[in-house]
């Protein structure tokens, strides 16, 4: 029996949404902005009205108000209570439950140690940095021992270093407390890095569920469609090199990729947003090539650029802020670099 089950959940945004989450699982809900990801979390938390049914361990929770659902919710803007010290922010959920001073103290201390924020306990939220606030918000949601932790884009406002740290901490929390999590993001790499499974959401529905590899194999069109195109190249193995890497040949293009323990494969997949363009020779020489611009299109707020690298066609997407339209001339040349970790062999 799934830990959480949504059946035909419908409201002003969600459309007959169905979804299952297993006990202790992390499901990453992946979708563009406006797909209804936040509304989905709010429906589960009981903060928006819906029809249909949401069940936890087989019991419907639709009639319970948010304060009786016992879920941890971390909204995107974190929503720390500005008038309370960090310690009081975290303790709030326990104070409402009327626990004794001593057990509140113990429990708060445990969670603060888990997230390594004990030194912040007397500070006020407005004085904290982005990463610190994120930890406090997670601690506040965890302290009530929730049946489910709902996280809305928890890494989106952080720099790369903090992203790695916080996602490592989320993994640690899952391991130590065995919390089931639903994790909303618009970033494939985040979804892939943290989620046991990825649920792809579009226009108020869950349109595909699976691991990243499963989605690449079965639902490539969906990933390409709602996010950005993925390059799929037929290839053959040239040689295996140490540290789990392989050299593969796709037409006249030779790439280095991580084998992920595979010895047989016939294609590589490269998300187009990971085909990096620059006008200066890239400092990293691995998988760096000179390319010719074949076509440039503007789709929403993204450039979709088609490139020819040694006669192999590759698609690259970049946000419109990245380049000046006049720089991307058709027929012009440009450097391409593809980081090893974004190449998947199948």
């Amino acid at each position: 029996m799934p830990h959480l089950a949504l059946r035909n959940v419908t409201n002003f945004i969600l459309k007959n949404l169905n979804m299952d989450v297993l006990d202790r699982e992390i499901v990453a809900v992946l979708g563009r902005s406006g797909a209804g990801k936040t509304t989905l979390l709010k429906a589960i938390a009981g903060l928006v009205k819906y029809s249909g049914s949401i069940m936890m361990d087989g019991e419907p929770i639709d009639d319970l108000p948010p304060e009786r659902r016992n879920l941890g919710y971390v909204p995107q803007n974190l929503a720390l209570f500005p008038h309370m010290r960090v310690e009081d922010n975290i303790a709030y959920g326990l104070k409402i439950r009327g626990l004794s001073e001593r057990s509140i103290k113990e429990r708060v201390r445990y969670v603060m140690d888990l997230l390594d924020i004990h030194h912040l306990k007397d500070r006020y939220p407005l004085t904290l940095s982005g990463g610190e606030r994120q930890r406090v918000a997670i601690a506040r949601a965890l302290v009530i021992d929730p049946r489910l932790l709902l996280l809305d884009e928890p890494l989106s406002n952080l720099n790369i270093g903090l992203r790695l740290q916080i996602s490592a901490e989320l993994k640690k929390i899952r391991k130590e407390l065995g919390v089931t999590m639903i994790y909303v993001t618009h970033d494939v790499d985040e979804a892939r890095g943290l989620g046991d499974r990825i649920a792809v959401m579009d226009d108020g529905r869950i349109i595909a569920v699976g691991t990243y590899e499963e989605l690449l194999v079965r639902k490539m069109d969906i990933l390409s469609d709602i996010l950005y195109p993925h390059n799929v190249l037929r290839c053959s193995l040239v040689e295996e090199i140490p540290e789990g890497l392989v050299k593969v040949r796709c037409g006249d293009l030779t790439l280095i990729a991580a084998s992920e323990g595979r010895h047989e494969f016939s294609k590589v997949v490269i998300p187009s947003n990971r085909v990096y363009l620059s006008f200066e020779r890239p400092r990293i020489r691995v998988n760096a090539f000179k390319a010719r611009i074949v076509d440039v299109r503007l789709d929403r707020n993204l450039y979709e650029i088609t490139l020819s690298v040694d006669g192999v066609l590759l698609k690259s997407t970049a946000s419109i802020e990245r380049f000046n339209p006049s720089e991307l001339r058709i027929g012009g040349s440009v450097y391409v670099q593809i980081p090893i970790r974004y190449i998947t062999v199948l």
Binding site: K42, A45, G46, L47, P65, P66, E67, R68, R69, N70, L71, G72, Y73, P75, N77, A79, L80, F81, P82, H83, Y92, G93, I96, R97, R123, Y124, P125, L126, T127, R140, A141, I144
Partner: protein, 252 residues
Amino acid sequence: MKMRSRIVKLILFLCSLALGWEILARLEIIPSYLFPPFSAVLMEFAEAIYRDQLATNYMITLFRVLAGFGAGAALGLFMGSISILTSRLRELLYPIVSFLSVIPAVALVPLLMIWVGMNEALPLLTVMFCSSIPIFYNVVSGARQIDKEILEVARTLGADRKRVLKDILLPQLAPLILSALKLEAGMAWRTCFVAEMLAMGSGLGYMIIDAESTLNVSLIMALILILSLSCYAFQTLFEVIELRILRRWGAR
């Protein structure tokens, strides 16, 4: 340290103002019964204190301001709080109060003179009215500005509506309420003055009208000074509290 240098600056400013005033008046460009020197105002001030008239009337006005303002603030807060909780009441009251809030309190004095008569209730009611409306208005419109997600998170943590009001909404509105109180504190003095001028036989406002009838310009000026100092002191009190809260939260 900061506070002290602020006070020093203020005193220096006031001293130079008084000096300039004194020199200007001593030049007798304007006849001194129309524009008396600062020293004459001070003398009048001292004499009024000596005659015991000033202290008595000051206490009367102070009482009216404090009582009217206290009652008005309490009423505004109470009405505001229950309006936050019940959306139906809010929808009913908010437009009415928005409309009332643009009426200058002074314009109500003649009406109240007829309705309640020229007695102690008049300045009290006027002050109460002028302080309760803006505070209600600030509580309700402030509650709308508070991040909705903060209230939602409080709900998921187990708080029902009443606890959200008590633990989350009102404490967060405190700076906003204080800044409304700050503005209205000065307003309360001014309103009380006008009510006394128009309708009362006691208080500083009455004294100023009385001085006008005897063409005692020095006393009028002394009273104006007292009024502005009282307004200022009252406002500063609330400003200090407001700043203290905001600083504690790290907002300033």
